[in-house]
Amino acid sequence: MTDQHPALSLRGLAKRFDTKVAVAGVDLDVPTGSFYGLLGPNGAGKTTTLSMAVGLLRPDAGQARVLGHDVWADPVGAKGLLGVMPDGVRLFDRLSGAELLAYHGLLRGMDPAVVDQRAAELLDVLALSDAGRTLVVDYSAGMKKKIGLACALLHGPRLLVLDEPFEAVDPVSAALIRDILHRYVVGGGTVIFSSHVMEVVERLCSHVAILADGRIKRVGTLAEVRGERSLEEVFVEVVGGRTATGEELSWLSRRR
């Protein structure tokens, strides 16, 4: 019955910090089974939007529903269906990778035997088994992203919400993460992730939304948003970027 609902549905989400409006009313429907890219320049409100969508940040106004469950009115129902990897948030990083996975699994009320089996498999696939008992705080940036993804995947969520999953990740790990996410979507899951790397979005996503200044500027399937042009062209036009004229910053040049 929940399949009639979109995987994630946002209605009029808004948030202001002091005097600055971070998100000014976002409406978004993420269809079940889609691979959704949330694009935007730095400071566009991507992290704020996703945080409000998963229950990490209380919105000033608006609603967020996960497969029909209101995140704020029915948190237990919604959070059970969600897998989240926030950005700029620490993990409980004084645990080893295996300990962290066990913690997340039990926190989600999973059976210990299932946790053991899935944790071993995830560590193996993500090439983290070699780290052994190294604490997550001592992991490299790419390894931290991978263990974060493993934590979000462990309980088999219906919807994955990933904030900047490809930031600070080397090409090898990025390819691995892409692979896993692709398989997850093929298997019936839904992914929404934020990024400002056009190339990745173009390659992976079925749907795209461009967010700037706290508002959705363009939304639709990749083909609809992109049209005949490249995604990057559309993005720069929508966001209203400027290009350097060559006059300023002349002191950067060593040839005068």
């Binding site: 990490l56 989240v84 926030p86 300990e99 913690y103 926190l107």
Partner: protein, 567 residues
């Protein structure tokens, strides 16, 4: 990064960086911190008022010999008052207050600054704070004393000494905390650091006995002798220089100023050494310890330490296991635990033994000494220890920082969360409390009082858990993400002291019935104390988790925002 590097090579900096820049930076950070944060301003004003109160009290205390014209008290006031002040500056940041790391040394690691510039700059910035200014105001009382007794020359030397003395206090506080932070950061020597801290705290005991004993005997010659000796150590030298001149020993006054200057120099040198390792350490703490190795067992088995092996493999068990690991693996939490253990053992011993030892004029046996101690006094000191142990949890979510997001996303019910945290902390603290009771019973030679002690401890600890669970949910604040266990955010020092004070008073008040029972019930209480105290503490803790858990359910996202450090 390459661009600025070539630029600095090409263009010499036009202006040198001076301590002025650091001071202005600190003031700017302080000011920005207040922007739009009414409660922060209120806390700051509260801190200023408290500082003023301390300053005025100290001023008149230290100026009293001069105002009264009593020259024979002058040296003693200066040596003991000033010495205590210096000692406080060395020890209090370690035990209670932490250091204001508004200007985190690690932030300067990439700037082309010499170590000398950096240390003098950070030192100058450290001087701009409420405690420093109120200390300065207080010790000007010594200048008044010196001036009243010895005229202008004495006042001038006194002023110089007092200024240098304040510098000495700040330098000592910075050097000691910085050195300890470095030690605690490296796991290799963490046990050594624990022992060192214990020794430092242990020194407080004999010192207190000595001072109290001396005061009690009121042997002016001997006391003056001690004051003279203290006056020649760095602890007393800056404060007594003015008095020396007033007494006609101009050379001695000058020499004491020199001693102070030398001590400041040594401390700054020590600080700059540990500062460097702090800067490098923060940038790349690196995989310094080799924890690789064969993985024993499956994931769930690894999460649970042996001490938590009894716990069910469910949400509650996972929370307890994770908290248990954290109390040991997180340097900040570990430092708190060590403090609880050390202070918890030494304070009650000193209160119960020190207070009574005086009456028996020195070398009496312990058995006779206990004549003055009573179940009421014991209960009171036990309440203090229990409350002190639990106040560690006053900002328990602050320790987690943004990592707490994991629990929010998983939707952990507030009551489960708080109960698990209480259980995990108790796994460390209850054995410590048990040791406190046993040690005190042995030292006092009263094994029969063991029940009273344990009962008082458990009741106070349980009440403290309840109060601090509430405080930790409603009054959480973020801690800086440095590896320095003593670091505090600007303004948070005041918040921390205030919340700690409130929760300690509230917890102690909640545990008062136990003390009243000890006073009223007499010998029956010796048997009843343990079961009643246990039930009282357990009931209080459960009630606290029940009520505070409800509050936590309602404000999880707000709590997460409160403990997430602003960047």
């Amino acid at each position: 990064m390459a661009v600025p590097a070539t630029l600095t090579a090409a263009e010499r900096p036009a202006r040198a960086v001076s301590p002025r820049h650091f001071v202005r930076l600190k003031l700017r950070v302080l000011g920005n911190n207040f922007r739009g944060q009414g409660w922060r301003i209120a806390l700051f004003v509260g801190g200023v008022l408290f500082g003023l109160w301390f300053a005025v009290g100290g001023f008149f205390g230290l100026a009293a010999p001069g105002l009264a014209g009593e020259s024979r008290y002058a040296l003693m006031t200066a040596a003991f008052g000033g010495g205590l002040l210096t000692l406080g500056w060395v020890l209090l940041p370690l035990v209670f207050f932490g250091v204001d790391e508004t200007l985190d040394p690690a932030r300067f690691a990439l700037l082309p600054l010499s170590r000398r510039t950096l240390v003098t700059g950070l030192f100058a910035a450290a001087l701009v704070s409420v405690p420093v200014l109120s200390t300065l105001l207080a010790v000007t009382g010594l200048v008044v004393t010196a001036g009243a007794l010895g005229g202008w020359p004495a006042a001038l030397v006194g002023l110089l000494g007092v200024l240098l003395g304040v510098l000495l206090c700040v330098a000592a506080a910075r050097a000691v905390t910085s050195a300890f932070a470095t030690m605690l950061r490296s796991r290799r020597v963490r046990d050594l650091a624990a022992v060192l801290l214990a020794v430092v705290a242990a020194l407080l005991g004999p010192l207190q006995l000595l001072v109290l004993g001396a005061v009690q005997q009121a042997d002016w010659d001997r006391l003056t002798g001690v004051a003279r000796v203290v006056g020649w150590t760095p602890f007393g030298a800056p404060w007594t220089a003015g008095v020396e001149v007033a007494e006609g020993h101009a050379a001695a006054g000058g020499l004491k100023l020199l001693i102070t200057v030398a001590a400041i120099g040594v401390l700054l040198l020590w600080w700059s050494r540990s500062l460097e390792s702090a800067m490098v350490g923060a940038v790349s703490s690196g995989p310094s310890r080799d924890r690789r190795g064969t993985v024993a067992g499956a994931a769930v088995g690894q999460l649970f330490p042996r001490a938590v092996g009894w716990a069910r493999r469910d949400r509650f068990g996972a929370l307890v296991a994770r908290e248990c690991r954290y109390w040991w693996r997180d340097a900040r939490r570990r430092a708190n635990l060590i403090t609880v253990a050390v202070v918890g053992i030494f304070v009650p011993v000193m209160v119960n033994l020190g207070g009574s030892r005086l009456a028996t004029d020195g070398g009496a046996a312990f058995g006779e000494a206990t004549a003055n101690s009573s179940p009421v006094l014991v209960s009171l000191s036990m309440v203090f220890v229990g409350v002190l142990a639990s106040v560690t949890l006053a900002n328990q979510f602050g320790f987690d920082g943004s990592a707490y997001a994991a629990n929010v996303v998983a939707g952990v019910p507030g009551r489960v969360e708080l109960q698990a945290r209480m259980v995990a902390f108790s796994l460390y603290v209850v054995p410590i409390l048990g040791a406190v009771a046993v040690v005190l019973a042995v030292v006092l030679g009263r094994p029969g009082w063991l029940g009273v002690m344990a009962g008082g401890l458990l009741a106070a600890y349980g009440c403290g858990l309840a109060i601090n669970a509430t405080v930790s949910v409603l009054g959480a604040y973020s801690l800086p993400e440095t590896s320095n266990p003593f670091a505090m955010n600007t303004g948070a020092g005041m918040a921390r002291s205030l919340y700690a004070l409130v929760s300690m008073v509230a917890s102690a008040a909640a545990a008062v019935p136990l003390v009243v029972a000890a006073a009223l019930l007499g010998d029956v209480w010796l048997w009843l104390a343990l079961p009643v105290g246990l039930a009282y503490g357990l009931g209080a803790a459960l009630l606290g988790a029940y009520l505070a858990g409800d509050a936590l359910d309602r404000r999880q996202p707000e709590l997460l925002a409160a403990v997430t450090p602003r960047r």
